[in-house]
Symmetry: C2
DNA sequence: AAGATCTCTCAAAGCGCTTTGGATACCGCA
DNA sequence: TGCGGTATCCAAAGCGCTTTGAGAGATCTT
């Protein structure tokens, strides 16, 4: 069943039927009711491709997920982020196109999105400090919003980010206030913008107490359980091991905890841990009371808000870019305690 | 730049240019070279929507991810699964449309996919034992492949599944051989087909040894870290606690381990654990030697194979459905050991 | 040398929708 | 009675591509 058939079945023109279904005012309420009813009856729904061709809007949004052959890692937050965004897309009649792409082919992909007109806009994930993607997207005129920020890009653009610097500053301060002086940082890859900012926050807090940062107890790697374990194990084996850890993700924290317990140390007493918590659905930080002391911000909520922002931008390309800086909450759990001089 | 412009720039007709670019034999190699070169020069690429409208193929594949408002859980395997599938799609010029949908709206979504012609086919995730989706998809004639199987659906259809029953039978047998007699099962939701099969495998092994299964040490819930912890904690507190655990996912195992260690028990000696490992990229089971004894099968590989199967099906709808039953490997790690009578 | 056969190219129709620019009927008003 | 103004509806063009059916040349038969 297509428009033409439906129209002839109703004895109306395609124009009228189309307008009735799309809520245009040029058609009387009586006929609109008739048309809508008939469409329901015959199970008519417009062909998305034809509609896109006629209007120029695809009602599709691209999510680009960088993968690389060597490091096969898929960021575990994508699922929850997409769940948030997807909900908003569904409400607004948008579809989400997810593309896995090697980093060196990303530019070509954006260009292809543009020339082939397969999406109305894109969400840029995991921005790096120096990220040419934003410049490229501006140049080719493809609407976009960024989950995070790219320090290197000056022109205004729409983004939503957690205040990573202040979150880590507060977390480190919290540990300092408990008396810890050797605080390790288990960070993500520091060419990523968020990780760089987190390190800055950590250093801010140390500096404020006149403590020099020590590269021996700072690591930067992909945030996997395995890396958390490996980094923490190495640090705990140092002549002067850290008494506290500041960790960039829950999943990595699972590994840190493993290292701590394997060494026979008790978390929350011998060693304190503060983690960053994205509120992943399958890895919640305790039911009522949090297990880990954590700076927390829901990645799913971020997905929702960003989706909304992008839809706005697509509907009204002239609007000025919106920015949203979320402050993470600092929740105290049982993984932290006052510094205890070790025997 | 569109076809018409490119054609006039070349002094050729749209027909010829289109054919040249699509590799039809009716055009000479000389002109084809010319056309291809010009397309590259001007950065021409066909509008996907126009192409889809003209040909009737969208070159899009739908992935439906069920979410529900009450249980906000997003299955952590989706990321890696999609990474695998996405790779194959990219190689074959397909795009992946991901839709989050409430379970009760799933039917409407499939119907809408069909009538609006927005995808060429879909991959069905997480089939339930009684799953009417497959019948529906057959009825409406939307090509599909299933990640898993649905016991209730008889007609032939394309699927790829791990032999969950044999995997869990072997895992349970392994624990029995080590002398364990009270083996707990921490399973996923058992209306899911995979979880049902896993329980069957577990029971097979127990029955073969003449052991009756005990509901007290069998749990079925969503596979989150928190549920793993909660279930294991409860079981360890029983008058007759289990000496071994068979767990359905790595993420849940993290919680089980937490419960074990919190109780002061040593994994691999006081308590044995065998887990199912999907080879998630951010939660790998040790680098060289596995930490957990595990039945293992890569969900990313599954994604690749299923994508290939679906593309085949779309290209050749008359082909007979393919089925693929993978056997999981049983890898011995350090989380298991012989049964030790407790004091 | 004329007809038959290829080879290469083209004009035009069609995919299913939206949207422009009228047409038609009906109303009140002078 | 006739005229502008609404309220409804329509025919046709157009979105950018593929594909059908056919037409020129060039090459080959006999």
């Amino acid at each position: 069943m297509n428009l033409k058939e439906l129209a002839s079945k109703l004895g109306l023109s395609q124009t009228t039927v189309s307008r009735a279904l799309n809520g245009y005012p040029e058609v009387s309420e009586a006929t609109r009711k008739l048309v809508v009813e008939a469409a329901r009856l015959y199970g008519y729904a417009p062909n998305t491709r034809a509609k896109a061709l006629a209007t120029g809007n695809t009602h599709c949004i691209g999510h680009i997920i960088p993968v690389s052959e060597k490091r096969e890692m898929v960021n575990p937050i994508f699922g929850d982020f997409m769940a948030g965004a997807g909900e908003v897309y569904a409400q607004n009649g948008f579809e989400m196109i997810v593309t896995m792409v090697e980093e060196d082919q990303e530019d070509a992909l954006y260009r292809s999105f543009r020339t082939r007109k397969s999406v109305d806009g894109v969400v840029v994930q995991a921005p790096r400090m120096l990220d040419h993607r934003l410049g490229l997207l501006s140049d080719i005129g493809l609407p976009f919003v960024v989950h995070g920020r790219a320090s290197s890009f000056d022109a205004p653009y729409s983004w939503l980010d957690v205040n990573n610097r202040s979150a880590f500053r507060r977390a480190a301060r919290f540990l300092l206030d408990l008396g810890h002086r050797r605080i390790a940082l288990i960070n993500g890859l520091e060419h990523m913008d968020f990780a760089y900012r987190r390190r800055r926050g950590y250093e801010d807090a140390l500096t404020a107490q006149g403590i020099a940062s020590d590269p021996d107890i700072m690591s930067t790697s992909e945030m996997t359980e395995g890396n958390g374990y490996a980094n923490a194990t190495r640090m705990l084996g140092l002549p002067k091991p850290p008494s506290a850890f500041l960790v960039s993700s829950m999943i990595e924290t699972v590994g840190v905890r493993r290292a701590v317990e394997e060494r026979g140390l008790v978390m929350g007493s011998d060693v304190s841990i503060v983690t960053y918590d994205d509120c992943l659905s399958y890895l919640q930080n305790g039911a009522e009371t949090p297990i880990f002391t954590a700076t927390r911000s829901s990645v799913r909520e971020a997905g929702k808000e960003l989706a909304q922002m992008l839809i706005e931008r697509i509907r009204n390309p002239q609007s000025i870019p919106q920015n949203r800086l979320l402050e993470a909450e600092l929740l105290v759990g049982s993984s932290t305690g006052p510094f205890k001089a070790t025997s």
